[in-house]
Amino acid sequence: MLEIRNLVKVYPGPVAALQGVSLEASRGMLGLLGPNGAGKTTLMRIVAGLLEPTSGAVLLDGEDVTGDPRRIRRQLGYLPQSFGFYPHLTGAAMLRFLLVLKGVQAPRGLKHLAAELLERVNLQDAAKRKVGTYSGGMRQRLGIAQALAGNPRIVVVDEPTAGLDPEERLRFYRLLAEMAEDRLVLLSTHIVEDIAVLCPRVAVLSGGQVLADTAPGDARARLEGTIFEGAVAKEGLAEMERRFLVTQAVLIEGRNRVRVHVRDGRPPPGFEPIPPSLEDAYLLLIRNQASKNGQPAPAAAERAES
């Protein structure tokens, strides 16, 4: 049982990265979703025992581990947002080294275990290459392998799918899902799709605060019947944003496919109702929070597709 109780973290400046975050989780996958600077990585690093909070507590089975992070490290699998390895070691040697440091044991020995783990992340053919020659994606997979090693009770993964191609991302999803069956997995990301695919529960962080702690399905259900989609000419997008709450605008072949949130059931002409997505819910939540804080509302998510 992991309990995060009223965590506050203030960096010199001062910058309040966390402003009283409280969460509880025991098993399964908990997604942490939030924009850049929301405090996700700070929270992850505190949970991993790498960062001391200004106040508050991280309780593992009722014991505060912030003062003695060794207790959580013994049960932790951790994949940080940004990392590297000793470039002169081979992938297998690097992984074996980390297995020793983590106290991992396996029936057939660490050498065999390292090979198996590398196979799980599809690095078996690169096991004997020096890590210095790995691509970014290969390095990311090696990081995943070490995080999964040792049957940890808690797995903390921060932006784990960055740099992975779709195939590898799917492979990782499967591994994480398997891991989450009997332990707690904390997944921090700003990619809503990761959460949508993997997490039965999501906490949305923004400005160092938890804005929501819910299941993705619940979040979508609350928007049922309020999301409409239609095409808007490029020059008409600004007017559309002024009149409606636009959640997403996707540029396809020079025209915008726009999703709007309409509470009164009167969508713009030509717009059709569609099922709400988690991304709609997340973006609406963030924009709503920004307007509450008197900040300019973030623009609708825009992207281009071909």
């Binding site: 790498l50 196979e119 191609d165």
Partner: protein, 1218 residues
């Protein structure tokens, strides 16, 4: 923005960044302290005979500032310059600013040159501040009457050396590592540069200058020396020109030197340009990240080679199938894994393979190039090699470990593994210890390589005839037992410092400051012993092997050294615990840090550390208080001072009655440093007045039982001076006997610091003399005891006619000669020698008792004992350590020849046997007691004979000569007296060289001592031979070297048989006299034997009663064919002083044949030709000469037979171009 503006922006950014680094402020602190020390006259730089700082030389002169800047930039600045400049581009890579920076219009050249300019400007500012501080300290703070070392303020004295010595070094020492950093992106390569430079410059270019070095090679080395110090030394300092010259001379650079400085600066700038081009080229190749910025996209890794397919996806099984589980990682398993990984990481880096040979070469070559007495090569024994490399290896490996440890601790951060690494459950202690072990393993690799190199050298030499074989024990003891502990401590210290500062520059600054301060203190200690770090603070065990002896490595300092090593070993757990606490594996919260600094929290932390702090505290206390109570401690110093204070006014000029007989019984226990001493002195009043009181000095630090004429007596003790008051005053012609008995430990207790010992009772050997009141009571008051810097007084000024009437002896106890009966008991395996002849020897219950009696009267006595082998000659014997038989034949031949020829030349040898006994190299001297010479293992037993130097022969000849010049003829006390002992012994050595080995060996020996005189004289303090009393700097070389040389020249003046006849008459006249002679007495006798008394007077007037030294130069030398021969013309001038007639020779081919090599007589090469003329030159005179030859001359030289003492003989040679 213009290119210049972009360049300036980069430079400003780098300057601002550099000036915020703590390392530069550490440097400024060290430099400021040094500048302050100079201004107070406390810190001096000496080179040759010119001294900067001190009492009279101006520290503000151009010469002193040139020395200051050239040495300090090389010794200190190079580290900070190399690190500051060399890491600029590497640091940018670590900070990941590269992609952004190079996304702008900034070009590679602007970026590189701007960064370099900023880095150099930062050092320039620090150096400028240092010069400003120097000037301020010198001319503002240190003014007044008590500052004779401060001259007038001349800005050029600071600025010109800054331009000539400082700027080129700065550009070179910054530019080259800057290029290395840009090119390789490896910090360790950058660190290699200053290590290499310091080794090359301070270990070779500045210091290696044997007297026989070819001038052309010397010139090349001058131009190659980046510090410029060699030029300064060889051109201006080596030949002492007097303080006035150095205080006022501008020291203009010659064209060659000026060009070399410009070239040096140019190399630095070219290196920067090379870095810029390298950067630009890589940019064009599209390798921006990897080359310019120093990291690769994706965190230090290359992208996958084009065309390499991604590994195919495989399904794999579930994670559960793997059966993984986690247990707390074992401490030692983690240490092992981390250490192994560290070592693997280090071993695959090529730079280790650069460092290792570099360090090994420096270490081994320093040992190989070490010279013994008279610049003789040394026999490289395993002990000498292990001890000789000790300081160099310790220092260099510690510097390397500083870099490796910091970079190792930085590694996870720079390679972005830190988050994963620190989140593992392995303990921080294991983490740090693993790294410590891994880094210490680097030291092991270096030690292993040095050991292999030493083995290879010794073994190879052994195979080619060198008598010395390899022995592992000295290396195991000195390196494995002592040095390795230094590395463990130092690595722990650096780790703790890193954990505290978490900044590589701060740790480098601190570490280098500690190293530089330590080496500085221990270097100064060569001249001022009390400046040496004590055993408590000497973490590096610097010089701990200086007193190495093959006869017993650790006998002298063993206990103190053991405690010292245990102290620093016990600090390792404390430092690692502190490192674990400070390491910051979890980033501390700033608010909570304040909470932790509350007194109660600090107290709690302190109590937790207590168990780790107690062992070092106890060991430090044992060393500190043990040293205080020991023979070098303040208690002993205070007792000596008390002796001086209470007795100096009463007893200084008290003349004692004679001791006519010494009866001594000494029971030695060398393994425990003790002896029981008992005996009796028979005093006879040979003077014409009665003695109501007799003072005797005795300081054995134990109660003494005294008797007077056989009855118990309690003399009045005055702090070590015991004043006897007989019932009746000792009347003229009367006698009395003083008896004594006490126990002795010698030396007593722990030493306080490294250093030698002249007398001792130690397991490897025993040396005791009648000079030492610690060993035996010495009649009278001894004026040297208790005199130090606080109460040193000026030497007595003697009137010119001081020698008229009876003169007191300079050596011994005074009065008439005495007889001795000395009984020595020691463990059976020891051989104990003393003066006279052996009259009995018996072994009982494992103890050997010998009795030595003087067969003829003596004035001095001593005891020397050891586990000896013996080589017997003709009326001679050499007692030596059984493993030191390398030079025994040569030494025995020298002793035999000395006995025969000195008897023939000077006076018959009156005693039965002449012995020479080796003692451990806890001191490096030899002493010629009557019949019983003591001889350190370090000055002849382990030298290697060479055609250029026969140290073993020369020292035996010199010490044997003291049987005549010191014992048979005891000189008088006063100026010039000691020249009749030491100068005459050198003169006798010259004669014996010529007699036994011929001209070549005599010439080489006279050259060696001439060089010694040229190097060590102090022109400002030198006085005529008849005034030299040993009180001034440089008096030693005047007494020994010039004294011997002048007698050799006097022989040329008088003729060999005339001078020897005169000397025999002189000894006959004085050896039994109660008037002890000085130089004037000798000259008075010799004049009667001079064939030309007027010429004799002219010679003695300039060489004995004035200070002159010629110096010859050849100019305008030409040769032209004349019929079947050649005519050589030229001019010889004497810019020195003195008027002498000197030969000038034109020669062809080598003079000596190599057939006549070491130990054999001179053989003149059959192809050698010469033709000569003679010129007479006074001071500043010149003369043209013409020499007609029948051969094609190759060389012209002045004084080919080395008959006239002169300065810079090597410059009085002209070689015709081929």
């Amino acid at each position: 923005m213009t290119s210049l503006a972009r360049w300036a922006a980069v430079a400003r950014r780098e300057l601002s960044s550099a000036l915020r680094r703590p390392s530069y402020w550490f440097l400024l602190g060290v430099l400021g302290l040094t500048a302050f020390g100079f201004s107070q006259g406390n810190v001096t730089i000496s080179s040759g005979e010119a001294t900067a700082g001190g009492l009279r030389s101006h520290i503000t002169s151009a010469a002193a500032q040139s020395m200051y800047q050239s040495v300090l930039i090389t010794a200190m600045g190079v580290w900070f310059l190399a690190i500051g400049a060399g890491l600029v581009l590497i640091r940018d890579a670590e900070l990941r600013v590269g992609e952004i920076v190079h996304g702008t219009r900034l070009t590679a050249r602007e970026y590189v040159w701007g960064s370099f300019a900023g880095a150099v400007a930062a050092f320039g500012i620090i150096w400028g501040l240092n010069l400003g501080l120097s000037a301020g300290f010198n001319h503002v703070l240190a003014t007044g009457a008590d500052t004779p070392h401060i001259g007038p303020f001349v800005p050029g004295n600071y600025l010109i050396p800054a331009l000539l010595f400082g700027l080129p070094q700065i550009l070179f020492f910054a530019g080259v590592p800057f290029f290395l950093g840009a090119w390789t992106r490896r910090p360790i390569v950058v660190f290699a540069f200053p290590v290499a430079m310091v080794l090359l410059i301070l270990g070779f270019l500045v210091t290696w200058s044997p007297s026989w070095l070819d001038p052309a090679i010397n010139r090349a080395l001058i131009l190659a020396d980046p510090s410029g110090f060699r030029w300064l030394n060889e051109t201006f300092l080596k030949l002492d020109r007097g303080v006035d010259f150095y205080n006022t001379a501008p020291l203009p650079p010659d064209m060659g030197f000026l060009l070399s400085r410009i070239g040096l600066a140019g190399i630095g700038l070219l290196a920067v340009e090379a870095a810029a081009r390298n950067t630009a080229r890589r940019l064009l190749e599209g390798d921006t990240d990897s080359v310019v910025i120093g990291f690769r996209r994706g965190g230090g890794e290359t992208t996958r080679p084009t065309g390499t397919p991604e590994p195919p996806a495989t399904a794999g099984g579930t994670l559960r199938e793997l059966g993984m589980r986690t247990v707390p990682p074992g401490f030692f398993a983690a240490v092992h894994a981390i250490a192994r990984t560290e070592v693997r990481e280090l071993l695959v880096r090529p730079w280790l393979y650069l460092f290792v040979p570099l360090i090994v070469w420096q270490s081994v070559s320093a040992s190989l190039l070490a010279l013994g007495p008279f610049d003789s090569p040394l026999l490289v024994t395993s002990g000498a090699m292990a001890a000789g490399q000790f300081n160099t290896l310790s220092l260099l490996v510690c510097i390397l470990l500083l870099f490796y440890t910091v970079e190792s601790l930085m590694k996870e951060r720079t390679q972005r593994l830190a988050e994963i690494y620190r989140a593992t459950p392995v303990g921080t202690g294991a983490m740090l210890l693993g790294k410590t072990v891994g880094n210490v393993a680097v030291a092991g690799v270096i030690l292993g390589a040095a050991l292999i190199a030493s083995w290879a050298i010794i073994t190879a030499r052994h195979l080619f005839g060198n008598p010395v074989g390899f022995d592992l024990w000295p290396f195991a003891a000195a390196w494995g037992g002592v040095m390795v502990l230094t590395f463990v401590f130092w690595t722990a210290f650096v780790t703790a410092a890193f954990a505290l500062f978490r900044n590589r520059y701060a740790v480098y600054g601190l570490g280098l400051a500690v190293v530089i301060y330590t080496v500085y203190r221990m270097t100064v200690a060569q001249f001022q012993v009390d400046e040496a770090l004590s055993w408590v603070t000497n973490w590096l065990a610097w010089n701990a092997m200086a007193a190495w002896s093959d006869m017993g490595a650790f006998s002298l300092h063993g206990h103190a050294l053991l405690l010292n090593r245990l102290l620093y070993l016990s600090l390792v757990p404390l430092l690692l615990v502190l490192a674990v606490r400070w390491f910051g594996r979890q980033e501390f919260d700033a608010t909570r840090i304040l909470y932790r600094l509350r007194p109660r929290a600090l107290l709690r932390s302190g109590l937790r550390l207590l168990p780790f702090a107690v062992p070092p505290a106890v060991l430090a206390s044992m060393l500190f208080f043990g040293g205080r109570a020991g023979y070098e401690g303040p208690d002993a110093d205070e007792a000596a001072k008390d002796y001086w204070r209470r007795n100096v006014a009463t007893w200084t000029d008290f003349r004692m009655p004679s001791v006519s007989h010494v009866d001594l019984d000494v029971d030695l226990e060398p393994p425990v440093r003790t002896a029981s001493v008992s005996g009796a002195y028979t005093f006879v009043n040979h003077r014409d007045h009665a003695y109501p009181e007799l003072p005797i000095t005795a300081r054995p630090a134990a109660p003494i039982e005294w008797t007077l004429d056989g009855e118990p007596h309690e003399p009045d003790e005055r702090a070590g001076l015991f004043v006897f008051t007989p019932e009746e005053p000792l009347a003229p012609g009367g006698s009395l006997t003083v008896g004594f008995r006490y126990d002795l430990q010698h030396p007593r207790g722990l030493s306080t610091r490294v250093g030698g010992r002249r007398e001792f009772i130690l397991d490897p050997g025993v040396v005791l003399t009648g000079f030492s009141p610690t060993f035996v009571p010495v009649p009278g008051y001894l004026p040297g005891i208790g005199v130090d810097r606080d109460n040193r007084y000026d030497q007595r000024e003697y009137p010119d006619d001081f020698y008229e009437g009876e003169t007191e002896p300079a050596l011994g106890w005074g009065g008439q000669p005495l007889t001795t009966r000395i009984r020595i008991t020691a463990p059976e395996e020891y051989t104990a020698n003393s003066v006279g002849r052996l009259v009995s020897e018996e072994v009982r219950d494992g103890r050997r008792t010998v009795v030595w009696e003087s067969d003829q009267p003596v004035r001095l006595f001593n005891i020397v004992a050891g586990r000896y082998a013996v080589k017997e000659g003709r009326g001679t014997a050499i007692y030596y350590h059984p493993e030191h038989d390398y030079n025994i034949e040569e030494m025995s031949a020298a002793l035999d020849a000395a006995r025969v020829h000195y008897s023939e030349w000077f006076h018959p040898f009156p005693w039965e046997l002449l012995k020479l006994s080796e003692f451990p190299a806890y001191a490096g001297y030899a002493q010629g007691f009557p019949t019983n010479i003591t001889f350190s293992e370090g000055i002849g037993f382990l030298t290697k004979s060479d055609p250029r130097a026969h140290a073993a022969f020369a020292i035996v000849a010199h010490e044997a000569a003291h049987q005549w010049w010191g014992n048979i003829l005891t000189p008088g006390r006063g100026p010039g007296g000691n020249i009749l002992s030491e100068g005459m012994a050198h003169y006798a050595t010259i004669l014996l060289h010529e007699e036994v080995h011929g001209d070549r060996h005599r010439i080489e020996f006279t050259k060696r001592i001439e060089d010694g005189y040229g190097d060590a004289r102090f022109v400002d303090s030198e006085r005529p031979l008849v005034k030299t009393d040993g009180s001034r700097r440089g008096d030693a070389t005047v007494t020994y070297d010039k004294g011997g040389w002048v007698m050799w020249m006097l022989q040329q003046e008088m003729g060999r048989e005339n001078i020897l006849g005169g000397l025999r008459a002189f000894i006959d006249a004085y050896h039994a006299s109660s008037d002890f002679p000085v130089i004037q007495d000798m000259l008075a006798v010799l004049r009667d034997f001079a064939p030309d008394p007027e010429a004799f007077d002219a010679f003695t007037a300039q060489w004995f009663f004035a200070v002159v030294v010629p110096e010859y130069r050849l100019t305008g030398v030409t040769k032209e064919r004349a019929g079947r021969g050649w005519t050589v013309r030229g001019t010889v001038e004497n810019p020195g002083t003195g008027r002498m007639t000197v030969a000038v020779a034109a020669t062809a081919n080598e003079r000596w044949s190599d057939v006549g090599n070491a130990g054999t007589r001179t053989v003149v090469s059959p192809s050698y030709r010469d033709a000569r003329t003679r010129v007479e030159l006074g001071a500043s005179e010149s003369a043209e000469f013409e020499i007609v030859t029948t051969f094609d001359p190759e060389r012209v030289l002045v004084d080919p037979d080395v008959l006239v003492l002169q300065l810079r003989r090597e410059a009085a040679v002209f070689d015709f171009p081929e």
